[in-house]
Amino acid sequence: MKPPVRIVVALLGLVASALLAAGCSDLGAGGLDGPTETAEAAPGPGNGELTISNWPSYIDRNTVSDFEAKTGISVDYIEDVNDNNEFFSKLQPTLQNRDPAGRSIFVVTDWMANKMHNLGYLQKFDQKSVAPAMANLVPSLQHPAFDPNREFSLPWQSGMTGLVVNTAKAPDIKSINDIFDPQYKGKITVLSEMRDTVPLIMKADGINPEDATADDWLNAIDKLKEAVDSGQIIGVTGNSYINDMARGDVVAAIGWSGDAIQLQADDPDIQFVMPEQGCILWSDNMVIPVGAPNPAAAYEWMNYVYQPENQAQIANYNYYFSPVKGVKPYLKKINPEAAKSPLIFPTESFTKNCSTQPDPPRLDTAEIEKAFQSLVTGG
């Protein structure tokens, strides 16, 4: 065997040149160059194609085809948002080039909408075009802190993060603290969506998540970490916890309100349990990315789903809070049971202890996110 000196030399040369090249030019910093406040999406005739990215299990079978029939717009409705972070990571390389991969609407949670906006990836709405929808937005969602005038986001659905419990296998889980009960060891999961899980743990410890310090966040994460390491909590998952619940391997989870109802088809014992400490409230929002191919169609879609009767059809399927005024009478017509559900029309007493989904203290976000991620990948 000849000494592979030449190969080593050649490789070193390549390494050196790549390093030099890298040293000379910085990797493109996130965000777009130039002004981040972008022109309003111009209205236009509503036709052609519309591509939407949404979360799975968020729409009934008919809404898309009804919309197509009514407007002549052909819709590509893609259920490819499984996790805010993951969706964003996959999209960021294209978003940087002002290219939203053909999509005119994304549906992302409040904090992610805010993040995308801050990076300059989103368009401001043309308020005139979206006025019919805005007129039907329920008052409680009109002025969120991250977008006080709803300039770039419009709720798709809102919901609660609380406990999803198999009431036959774990009848006595009522409080967040109960998930740490040793008798349920290995049968508990929590959400990998940090802003859902960690605030609930803080609430259980008597901390108001809306003014929690970085230490509060890190302490709550430590508490979770211990439970994960000991095997008490068996999963830190996104959507996939519902698999484990349906299979009966997991008896209680920190989960989303609509899921409980959707799981009942597989196991009628699965219920949404409002934790004694209250829940976390959030919205998933429709946003229009910079470079969206057909904003006019996007507005038509928004206006369409904000018609109470169309919204009733969606609410009847997904059982999340409806952000639209006047849905109840229409829902009553198609499904009187659903119209009574506090999951779709929460009463004030039902959600009295709930908090709006908080962001961690801004300067410490990276550190907190990193600590949280170590739950997912063990350690």
Binding site: K2, P4, I7, A10, A22, L27, G28, S53, P56, S57, I78, E79, D80, N82, K90, L91, P93, T94, Q96, N97, D99, A101, G102, R103, G238, N239, S240, I242, N243, A246, R247, Q262, L263, Q264, A265, D266, D267
Partner: protein, 289 residues
Amino acid sequence: MKAVNWIRERGVMIFAILVVIYTLLPIAVIIAFSFNDPAGKFNFTWQGFTTQYWGDAFAISDLNKAMLTSLELAAAATIIATILGTMIALALVRYQFRGRRMANLLIVIPMTSPEVVIGAALLSMFVYFQVSTGFITLLIAHIMFSISFVVVVVRSRLIGFDRRLEEAARDLGADASTTFRTVTLPLIAPGLISAALLAFALSLDDFVISNFNSGTTVTFPLYIFGAAQRGIPVQVNVFATMLFMLTVVAMVVTVLQQRRAEKLASVRPDQEDGTTPGLPASAPATATS
């Protein structure tokens, strides 16, 4: 002694049959559950037999689109990788040249690198150059990881190739390109087909590298990964069953074809016993030996 041997020899065979059952078990589950009639959206407890989902196999448009994307991607990647890989194999087998070691290394290392590293490295580069990830980046990646496997399969085929056949053709007055077309190509064609099928299968099945470089393009495996979060629709089992059947048919066809080719080629005096790529994924080629 004989009795002991008898048991021992049967023992090995019984063990082997158990292993075959073990490898087929998940496939049996997949096929069985393509006929399941789930109550809710989860298809993992047996509820009852139905052929409904075979009838509605193409009812989920996202799934169809993902499958189409995968097929387009696999077809494009296969054609390009097979051409590039075959050219490399020809060079490696038929020529002496400086830099052979380097070339060999360049081919071997991608095959022996963990997919997660390859995927991550490619993404690093695409992000650096601000390339939008999507179908094109997927195609680039799939060609890249298929080339090495094509080289291995075609190369093993070329090694057993009797070059006197080509010489004979030229003695009879054929020019180089005619010889290549009428003698070389038909003889290595089974190898090319094996290589192409392998590249196609690798591309169709790839999840890890694709997951890094897909952007928002959804391939069949990526669709499954997404769907697995919220309950895989029965149609996925139907698709998987069809894929399995196709694989079996494709493998059987290649086996038969290669047997025929070997018969045709049996004029060569020192025939080697088929091909022996040392690599797992070169399955179709190996299955023919």
